[in-house]
């Protein structure tokens, strides 16, 4: 009986989309509510955002590597629209255009699906669920610290403990590159090599630069500036430019606060973290957790975005990708989703008149019982 329907159905689904049901839904909702609850406790308010907006508006918040992955379509008046590839841009737009009378900082959290035309694989889906937050209006390090601590607390609240937040700072790398005076193409190649910690390529890149041998050695060693607090101190002992030093001092402050709270084991540094340089303006971080091979989420400071929407406001935030966090939560065994089977009563439709059945069922459900109307088997 059941199978006979299959012939008329289209079992195909587009690559990269997903649906959830059964226990999986309960688990996702539970994780979401723990995260949302934690963010609320820290003074963040929820914002619900539109699924699509003008393509142009999204382009402000996306690097060139994402803008060609946007699902776009036409509005009736011919304007280009896009399915949201990102939520931060929508928050920034809303704050800059609708919340200008609010006291600062404006602290908002959000959750929902984003859509990107990613090549399938490498842990990427075309539709994925993010939950994240933005703190807008404070340019000081304390706002960075609050956001990083909250990222730590979110994972701890989920019972996840084997994770690291790898901190970097855009100012550190930019300070070094600006001194080198590289043409844009060379600067991109240099950045790419640093991003992949590709020392062999860096050796070639620095070969013909007109700088001292010590400076060359430092540039080749740049990818190795990753690890604990000692990395900051080591970098401070060799880097001279003011911009990089300021960045290092900021990272040092963040670590000191983490340490005073006993959270230093969750913090690590990667000064060669150079992703998203066109977008981020200060600290950047990636969140990693065992045994997940991909980042669970990430964030940073982006002081330039809101001005694109007419309000020059500094901002810092992060987001988690739900599908990458969830397996860790299950590993951590913290998700006790109660099973309701014991409260379930089945009332057979064969036993009496329909009026009688539904009168009874109505009364029992009003008493708070979980009633299932079905056929006795």
């Amino acid at each position: 009986m059941k199978n006979s329907r299959a012939n008329n159905l289209r079992p195909m689904i587009p690559q990269g989309v997903q649906c959830y049901f059964g226990e999986e839904v309960n688990r996702r909702r539970k994780v979401e509510s723990i995260l949302a609850g934690t963010m609320k406790n820290w003074g963040f308010q929820e914002i619900i955002l539109p699924f699509f907006d003008y393509l142009e508006d999204f382009s402000y918040g996306l690097g060139p590597h994402i803008s060609d992955k946007v699902y776009r379509f036409l509005d009736r008046d011919g304007s280009l629209l896009a399915l949201r590839p990102d939520l931060t841009t929508l928050v920034a737009k809303t704050v800059a255009t609708r919340m200008t009378d609010q006291p600062l900082p404006i602290k908002l959290f959000y959750s929902g699906e984003v859509f990107r035309q990613e090549r399938a694989g490498a842990g990427k889906q075309k539709e994925f669920y993010q939950i994240g937050l933005e703190s807008m209006g404070v340019a000081k390090t304390w706002a960075d610290i609050e956001v990083i601590l909250l990222a730590v607390e979110c994972l701890l609240q989920l019972g996840v403990e084997d994770f690291k937040i790898a901190l970097g700072h855009v100012g550190f790398f930019n300070g070094i590159v600006s001194v080198l005076n590289l043409p844009p193409e060379r600067a991109d190649a240099f950045r790419d090599a640093v991003d992949h910690k590709d020392s062999a390529w860096l050796c070639k890149e620095v070969e013909d630069m007109e700088i001292s041998p010590e400076k060359k050695r430092f540039l080749v060693e740049l990818p190795n500036f990753a690890g604990g607090r000692e990395v900051i101190d080591l970098a401070l002992s060799v880097v001279e430019n003011a911009r990089s030093r300021e960045a290092l001092n900021e990272l040092g402050k963040i670590h000191s606060v983490g340490e005073s709270l006993g959270l230093q084991s969750y913090l690590t540094f990667d000064l060669a973290e150079v992703r998203g340089l066109d977008y981020y303006t200060g600290i950047v971080f990636k969140i990693y957790g065992r045994p997940q091979g991909f980042e669970l989420g990430g964030g940073g400071r982006y002081d330039g975005l809101l001005s694109k929407f007419g309000w020059d406001l500094p901002a810092v935030g992060f987001s988690f990708t739900m599908d990458r966090v969830l397996p860790l939560v299950q590993d951590a065994g913290k998700l006790e989703v109660p099973s309701h089977d014991s409260e379930e009563y089945v009332i057979s439709t064969e036993s009496a008149s329909l009026s009688e059945i539904f009168k009874q069922v109505w009364r029992l459900r009003r008493q708070g019982l979980r009633i299932h109307v079905g056929t006795r088997t």
Partner: protein, 209 residues
């Protein structure tokens, strides 16, 4: 336990030899291909034996924290991985090859040229960067036959000594990239297993000196 992926084939013997010099002994079971996954005698390393083109995938997904593969593979697969060390062995070149006297431009004056390769993305990028239209034909082996059979005018392939090319009446027309064995590290493992990664890289660096 630190899981490491090794490439089957061309690089395997040299990789094992190099690791031994670094004080890391790959178990016999793996070398004889009796098992595809096995721990070393000390229990601190676990090895996976995989096809070269698959290796970056294992490391990118974090199934293995690290791996050793040729740069040719990295250029083709473009995985999102750290590539901290050039191990300098397994040197060879990715080249465009064809019949002697050909040039890249020759076939493209009027029409799209055909190129056969195990490296479709490398080939695609190479021709596109020249502004030349090319039809890339993916083959999983015996690529050198293609020009003689008329399947393609040229090939993009890995060349170590050039003997295979010569035996098939082909010459290297242009070098696309140099290749040698590289260490790759998963981005998450780099931080999560920081101490193990540093110890591992330290051993390899020492062996390189």
């Amino acid at each position: 336990m630190f899981t490491m992926a090794l490439s089957k084939g061309r690089l395997l013997d040299k990789t094992v030899e190099f690791l031994a010099r670094a004080g890391i002994d790959v178990p016999e079971d793996i070398l004889s291909s009796r098992r595809l996954i096995a721990p070393d005698a000390t229990g601190s390393y676990q090895f996976l034996l995989v096809k070269p083109m698959d290796l970056p995938t294992y490391v990118e997904y974090g199934v293995a924290a690290a791996g050793i593969c040729g740069r040719d593979v990295l250029l083709e697969v473009s995985p999102d991985l750290h590539q901290p060390l050039d191990l300098k062995f397994g040197r060879c070149r990715l080249v465009l090859a064809g019949k002697a006297g050909d040039t890249v431009e020759k076939h493209n004056l009027l029409s799209t040229t055909r190129v056969a390769t195990k490296y479709p993305r490398v080939a695609e990028r190479f021709f596109r960067s020249r502004g030349l239209p090319a039809e890339v034909i993916y083959l999983s082996g015996s690529v050198e036959l293609a020009p003689n059979l008329g399947l393609a005018e040229t090939i993009v392939d890995l060349v170590e000594t050039g003997r295979t090319l010569a035996e098939n009446g082909l010459v290297a027309l242009e070098e696309i990239a140099e290749s040698s064995a590289r260490v790759v590290i998963n981005r998450a493992s780099f931080h999560i297993q920081y101490a193990e990664v540093q110890e591992f890289l330290g051993k390899l660096r020492k062996a390189l000196e």
